[in-house]
Symmetry: C2
Subunit: 292 residues, 2 copies
DNA sequence: ATAGATCAAATCAAAATGATATCATCTAAA
DNA sequence: TTTAGATGATATCATTTTGATTTGATCTAT
């Protein structure tokens, strides 16, 4: 009996592809494998035979259409990560290499309007890994353009934009910089000062426990419980302090102390806001009042 | 001279991995390849030699650290899609198969709080491909729980949730259903009526041209122009009518006729709102007034 | 009935891979 | 300073995987 673990990387990939197509498309022909992996026809037959050996009841060949079909007894051989599945469906699989783009008409991801430059990302990531500073020109929404030296230690998406978390030499504190607003980014090839390293970014490393509850104005709370996979109407999360405000804004979480926001767009309420005490990061959160 | 196109899928994948590591991490050791592809050490040496042949100036071996380093003359051999890059960095590459999860500390994607069940997605996708209806129990925010038969034709992410676009037999029109609010989903194995097919979903197929402009209240418009890659302060988009409202809400686009919203959270304004005429899909858009 | 498409299975040659041994280079500990 | 240990390169050979080709089966469409 063949075991999955015995197989090499390429073979497992092809079997995973078969598994995926059956589960999420329902059918599969040899030509699909040839197209995707640029492999020979004979290989496809072999792979299909191998898959049948691993999961005899997962598919049947219909000669009418010359395709394999998923059976009702289908049991996935591979665990497919839900987020990754949706990504693959949207992109039309890509080829695993350059993520080829055959965007699907049937699975459409949210429109991303902000696309960081990949050279900027590359330079940032290398600086992060090398523990180096970068010099750049930054355009702030409040103060406009200026040259900066910053020491980045992480990149994060706040739901809309990609930010880089970095020590800012100008203000001498850790801050967020929007990746698309960085220009002329250059890695500075020398060691950084100790206190500028990511380890000293308190707000980044401080993990905050929050309880999100269904907002009391919601008429059918079960819908929201299902959305967020809540048990007992509560979603418990552990969040970096530096990212908490963004999260609240992204999910439109009512951060008033008594869930007093109305308007219908708030599905969630930050239940333990009072216990958390004052947090400057919540300034941007819906309904948050600082002086309480 | 070896050409990229001559190589097989597995080899190209490994070379792409080398290329990616150099560009986005800056360094690479044989062990990284062994870990990722579960390959033999000798193979790694072969792959590295092959990569050197393809791009002689992209990396140098430093014996001090026994690693290869990206040179300043680096020219990527593969085109890496920006969105895919960030995904790979966040997930710690995965293994291309089950998208193995070694979440990175240095690259953090936005927190997804809503995770559609992969069996639901699978059933929906198969029904879409097979042009079949499904039966399910749906919990609506406004009207609560009910059994439905719907004919799905696409899945879309509206920035927060995954929706399925489907003909609803109950209301006899095309509507959006939140994937996480579907329960007991079953494919109905029989042909659908003509008018229920996706081709007849007018709002889905109607493509609307919109012009987004930097909101007049923004102090440093260049920051926003950079974010959205605008030329001349305008971002032109073609959007499905069915998704337009979500897009406006996702990006907080001021949809009032004269960009009258204040508050600082609006970076964009829908400049050609007047030309568009009344659109019911904009009901949920910030600042939209129906009777004008 | 027949041509055409697609699948399966078998065979053989070519290519890729894994295992192993030997050597080189550099670091870090003795 | 010397030496052990880690990691890299390279070469060789056996094994495995893959590609190409042929033959045969099944079904559709004409």
């Amino acid at each position: 009996m063949t075991e999955l673990a015995e197989l090499n990387y390429a073979q497992r990939e092809r079997l995973a592809f078969i598994d995926f197509c059956l589960q999420f498309i329902g059918q599969l022909a040899r030509a699909d494998l040839v197209n995707h992996f640029k492999t020979g026809l004979a290989s496809c037959s072999r792979d299909l035979t191998l898959y049948k050996e691993l999961a005899p009841n997962n598919m049947t060949l219909k000669h009418e259409t010359k395709q394999y079909y998923r059976t009702n007894e289908f049991q996935p051989v591979f665990e497919h990560n839900p987020e990754a599945i949706l990504g693959s469906l949207c992109r039309g699989f890509g080829d695993g290499i350059s993520q080829g783009i055959n965007p699907s008409e049937k699975c459409i991801d949210a429109t991303r309007l902000i696309h960081p430059d990949s050279d900027v990302i590359a330079t940032l990531m290398r600086a992060i890994n090398n523990r180096h500073a970068i010099s750049c020109d930054y355009i702030s929404l409040t103060s406009g353009e200026s040259s900066r030296e910053i020491i980045p230690h992480a990149i994060a998406n706040n739901g809309q934009r990609w930010h880089v978390r970095a020590f800012d030499k100008k203000s001498k504190e850790f801050r967020d910089f929007v990746c698309t607003r960085l220009q002329n980014v250059t890695e500075i090839q020398k060691p950084i000062a100790t206190m500028q390293a990511g380890e000293y970014d308190k707000q980044w490393h401080n993990i905050i426990s929050i309880d999100l509850a269904v907002h009391p104005t919601v008429k059918h709370p079960k819908a929201i419980e299902l959305d967020f996979g809540m048990s007992g109407g509560i979603l418990h999360l552990e969040v970096r302090e530096a990212l908490l405000g963004y999260l609240m804004r992204q999910w439109n979480v009512d951060c008033s102390s008594n869930a007093m926001l109305t308007g219908g767009e708030h599905h969630l309420w930050l239940k333990n806001i009072v216990e958390l005490g004052g947090l400057s990061c919540l300034k941007i959160a819906p309904g948050y009042k600082e002086s309480e």
